[in-house]
Amino acid sequence: MSTDIAEKSEVTSAPTFEEAIAFVWAEADLLDRLDYRPWLKLWTDSGKYIVPVERDVDYVDALNIVYDDQEMREARVKRLLSGFSMSSAPPARTVRTVSRFVVTEQDERSITLRGAQMLAEYKYQHMRFLPADISYRIVRGPDGNLLLDEKIVTLINAEDFQFGIGYLL
């Protein structure tokens, strides 16, 4: 793996805007279908999944709703799929769209998109709407597939109250 060829191919194949969008849509589809195990494989080893409370802060030193590394993502998915968590069994139904993409950063290794997520949630006769600003840093993995290196989901009311969220944003 540490050959020059592998490193070179990584360097020369930054994800394109179109590839990144297709990847994000596929991810959103996985999440709405609660297909969480394949979702775990979409990440780099050091990838961070963040749902902040506050905007414009250094998330590592702030309180977040979610601040997950790979180990916490795996624990979270195990919990959500276990059947023993009453907030996720039965799960809420969700339908989400992600759009309004702009490229905020791009280099030879990665692309960072900012977008808008519109998510509707339904459970026990409650319909709730959870709009969010969303950002993805996407890199190309060693096998050529795209990987999430960072995903930040900032709910429109992040610093206000939420109801329990028993699924992945």
Binding site: V60, D61, R79, S87, F163, I165
Partner: protein, 426 residues
């Protein structure tokens, strides 16, 4: 009141709705009872509004609530804390809509009346339009009585109430123990998770000293821990207890080893904190400091429930706000060391996020359980909520390993409902 009946008989006194071992279902559902609670309880007792570190320096403020009343908590130039109704004395507009910040004056956005941080009306624009004799001294922001104990700031509408220290009584000892999480640096709030559930506020009040639900509702949290930590959180199996502390307050000790964070500092550092201990040592902290900080980072082993709206719960403050008879807002305030090592506070934040908040491994399941209580209580108008689990400790004096008031007893709930009864009785 006239709508509530017990076994077909109309209830004439709210006190009839609470018995020693049970509470009536209408306590969760009757909007009139809720309105009375806002008056008889929340305007008649000490209500927690802030931690001292929320208003750390002069001219800092945070907005908060006393029951259904929005307030601003301010600190003036002399360091004194004020709690003011967030309502302009002119035509009622709110004078502050920020969660927290710095301000030396609050200006009403509607007609520009401006108030000092102690509530005094400073200036009225175009004052000539008022008749002679109009005195700004007559129209300060309404100020509540404020007292503080070990960083916990409470306010009350009841000017002639007993001193806060007296109201807290036996709970003070537990507050002092709880604040040892400052590891000698002092305690500081680090952030807040806010969430709501569609249910009555007392369902949450009950939950803070309910160890019985823990292994069932929080199975997936326990499953996410390493074996050593999972054993620590075996809350029913460590000889814990629940103690009625008077005035509706109670404490539930789940992990007796973690009552006093100054004790057992020579014990081996748990595996889950090994990295933190190493990091602290590398930063130059001596072994004794590392042990003290690491033990404080892990939090205490008890939940202290203070009637009616705040709990010092293991490692955070849990604050409830009644919104309506069937909606409640909860704030889980993360706390850490004020000026303590960054690595330690970072560890606190990650621990808090693990269990708490709308996507934590614990909170959403609690919230769902409470919602299910409210939904279930739609059935069986004549039924009662059972609070009869366990027996009280002899004379309220509990020690580890005694037979009475074991950790899963509903002693704390009974204590809270007896205070409710006292305050709601005709």
């Amino acid at each position: 009141m006239e709508t509530t009946t017990i076994d077909g008989a109309v209830v004439s006194d709210y006190a009839d709705l609470v018995r020693d071992d049970r509470g009536h279902t209408s306590l969760y559902k009757d909007a009139k009872i809720f309105d009375e609670e806002m008056q008889r309880i929340f305007r008649n007792t000490w209500v927690w509004v802030a931690h001292a570190s929320d208003v750390p320096t002069k001219n800092t403020f945070k907005t908060s609530w006393v029951g259904d009343q929005p307030v601003i908590v301010t600190r003036d130039k002399a360091g004194q804390v004020h709690v003011l109704l967030n309502r302009c004395r002119h035509r009622a507009a709110s004078v502050c809509e920020k969660k927290k910040g710095k301000a030396s004056v609050f200006v009403c956005p509607y007609h520009g009346w401006s108030y000092d941080v102690d509530g005094k009306l400073r200036k009225v624009p175009h004052a000539k339009g008022y008749e002679e004799g109009f005195d700004t001294a007559d129209y300060p922001l309404v100020s509540l009585r404020v007292e503080e104990y070990n960083g916990l700031i409470f306010a009350t509408f009841k000017q002639d109430i007993e001193p806060l220290e007296e109201f807290l009584g036996a709970a003070r000892k537990w507050i002092d123990l709880f604040m040892k999480q400052g590891a000698g640096f002092g305690v500081k709030t680090l952030g807040e998770h806010k969430f709501r559930f569609p249910g009555n506020w007392k369902i949450q009040l009950e939950n803070t000293t309910d160890a019985y639900h823990f292994p069932i509702v929080h199975k997936t949290f326990l499953d996410s821990l390493d074996e050593e930590t999972e054993n620590v959180f075996d809350v029913l199996g460590q000889g814990g207890w629940v103690e009625d502390l008077g005035n509706g307050h109670s404490v539930m000790v789940m992990i007796p080893d973690l009552i006093d964070l100054d004790d057992n500092l020579d014990a081996p550092i748990p595996d889950r904190f090994a990295d933190l201990a190493r990091e602290l040592a590398e930063e130059g902290h001596c072994d004794a400091d590392v042990r003290r900080i690491v033990r404080a980072v892990g939090g205490t082993g008890f939940n202290l429930n203070l009637f009616p709206n705040v709990a010092c719960s293991m490692a955070f403050f849990r604050v409830l706000r009644p919104v309506s008879v069937d909606e409640t807002e909860i704030t889980h305030v993360a706390i850490g060391m004020d000026g303590g090592p960054v690595a330690g506070n970072r560890a606190r934040l990650r621990l808090h996020e693990h269990f708490q908040g709308p996507m934590g491994f614990g909170t959403p399941d609690d919230a769902e359980g409470w919602e299910r209580v409210q939904r279930g209580a739609q059935a069986g108008d004549d039924l009662w909520i059972l609070l009869n689990r366990g027996v009280d400790a002899p004379e309220g004096v509990a020690e580890p390993g005694h037979n009475a008031g074991d950790v899963s007893a509903e002693t704390g709930m009974r204590a809270a409902y007896q205070m409710w009864k006292r305050m709601m009785a005709a």
